[in-house]
Assembly symmetry: C2
Homo-oligomer: 348 residues x 2
Amino acid sequence: MSRTAVSAKDVAELAGVSRAAVSRCFTPGASISPETRARIVKAAEQLGYQVNRLASGLIRNETGLVALIVSDMATPYRSHLLAALTEAVQQAGKVALLIKTDRSDGSAEQALRQAISYRTDAAIFLSGMPARSLAETCMRNGMRLVLINRDEDRPGALQVRLHDAEAGRRAVAVLRAAGCRRLALASSGVGTHSISERERGFREAATAAGIDWIEERFGSTSYQTGQDLGMALLSRRDRPDGVFCATDLLACGVMDVARWRLGIRVPDELSLIGYDNIAQAGWDSYGLTTFSQPVDEMAAKSVEWLSAMAANDDGDDGAGTARAEILFMPRLVLRGSVAQGFVPGVGR
Amino acid sequence: MSRTAVSAKDVAELAGVSRAAVSRCFTPGASISPETRARIVKAAEQLGYQVNRLASGLIRNETGLVALIVSDMATPYRSHLLAALTEAVQQAGKVALLIKTDRSDGSAEQALRQAISYRTDAAIFLSGMPARSLAETCMRNGMRLVLINRDEDRPGALQVRLHDAEAGRRAVAVLRAAGCRRLALASSGVGTHSISERERGFREAATAAGIDWIEERFGSTSYQTGQDLGMALLSRRDRPDGVFCATDLLACGVMDVARWRLGIRVPDELSLIGYDNIAQAGWDSYGLTTFSQPVDEMAAKSVEWLSAMAANDDGDDGAGTARAEILFMPRLVLRGSVAQGFVPGVGR
DNA sequence: CTGAAAGCGCTTACAG
DNA sequence: CTGAAAGCGCTTACAG
């Protein structure tokens, strides 16, 4: 009853070859004769041998591990993005190390340190942001960094982001085209870059159009906050008839308060637009007009970049301070939560 | 521009001690003088040293890695369970290796092989089930197995499950007490053990009460399937007035079809009960009466068991074929989706 | 194509 | 308490 798994030595003995041969058998492109390979494969199967990635990672300086660093992972949007990334990582033959963070100070640093201790080939941040110095240490050591929807820049890291301001602008255009007279902006108080950008776009467009609007911003990006925002915005005398919510979760909360607590009909009396296109936005109860993030594509491109950088490493000496950024355009998804009217085409 | 992170050797040199001393400094309980420790800690901080868990895992035969094996991870219930497990794993000082499976053949095996190749200390299955022989190999090698809501038994593994049949029985009691005359069971066709148990409990109780019921079972456990089930059940002439759905996602679909497509009022004309208590069940649009799984507790207990087993290892020689099982009772959460009536207390 | 040998970064008896 | 040495399971020049 050995406490330790079968090793290359066991396989080598059974197959009557050297340990080096066993290693070559499982190293793509290594020189080995078909016959020895066959013998080794057979022995390996018989013994249930799996190459020890810890040992190989140690020596090859490539673990096949990619850290996924995230908070609020049970949330619809985050879990969707997380699933897409996990899938992409696995498709690339790697495996995901999942590290949960929270809003506490140093949480992102601690997560990144965990990643370092396992020598992950890369770390992908879905939330939070590591201090510049630590990030630099990582990259100097050959770890790749991907920042998804993160505000600050980290030279050498890949930034994957969306044109959020444009979404805010389009929201105004859609609401106006629907005939809304009094607009509102409902947002959380987290002050994330991508959320601030959505707000900025909204304000810009509203200002440019010379129309008035009100706004409420507080709380986290939750359904509950959405309800509170809805209450605050919709129980006023001069209540708005068109609201852009910074996320779908907020929009669901606003819509539910409107319908079930204040008796306001959607979209007849209130048009609503969200952002993220979570699954619930497509459910019959919501039918929410929203902006969709190309989550699968974002995940695929991130992992593609990782592989490209790894290939690069063989060549140059890792100057790699080039600014890498991929910008996606959120796609408007029209559903029933916005009153009928002329819907503007693409662009402004 | 070294491609490799700082090692214990670097720290030892800077601190003027041996590499062994550095190792002891970061090994809890190792004998080291306060002065050397202080020197080493300082040097380590200065250099940004992180113990290489790959190397230590190799030698200590304990990687600190726990594999979480799951499918449909973006689903509300799964993502919640996944988050709870990740949290629990981190609380215990370990880190989660996330492996996504699908319904294809051998997917669970492949996932487990990945776990083996990284020598994870344990693997927790949230979905799927590895072949008996592979599971045994794992456990012989000291890897712990936890099966959450899985049907089959794997000697030596921890089974974490819920008393699903009881939930089915209670659902019938609640619907009858609400005055429902014609019951229905809406379930997916996946035939998972836990879902079959919910069905079994429902049928048993309905039979025992001598009342009639209809049922529909097909598709996956999705909102979409819920809509289809709702259409099938509720467009009949003799449509039911009380439906137990095997999951909340199904229930949401059924409710939406009832309300928005068939104009059936909930709960006046139709009482609905789900299972899982996903976040959406608590949203105003649904207010779904359902059964809650104690997800956090399930996660905590699973990880606790892992730690206990690890402690055990030092002592005995890993006979460990004892049957380990933890059974939780789903908790009824009453909301507005069931018509008012006498609500039975605990038990039948 | 193949094997013996060195080495990745660590831990852990073993002496002192 | 401390260091020198052996060894975890692998990969990879280096000879042959």
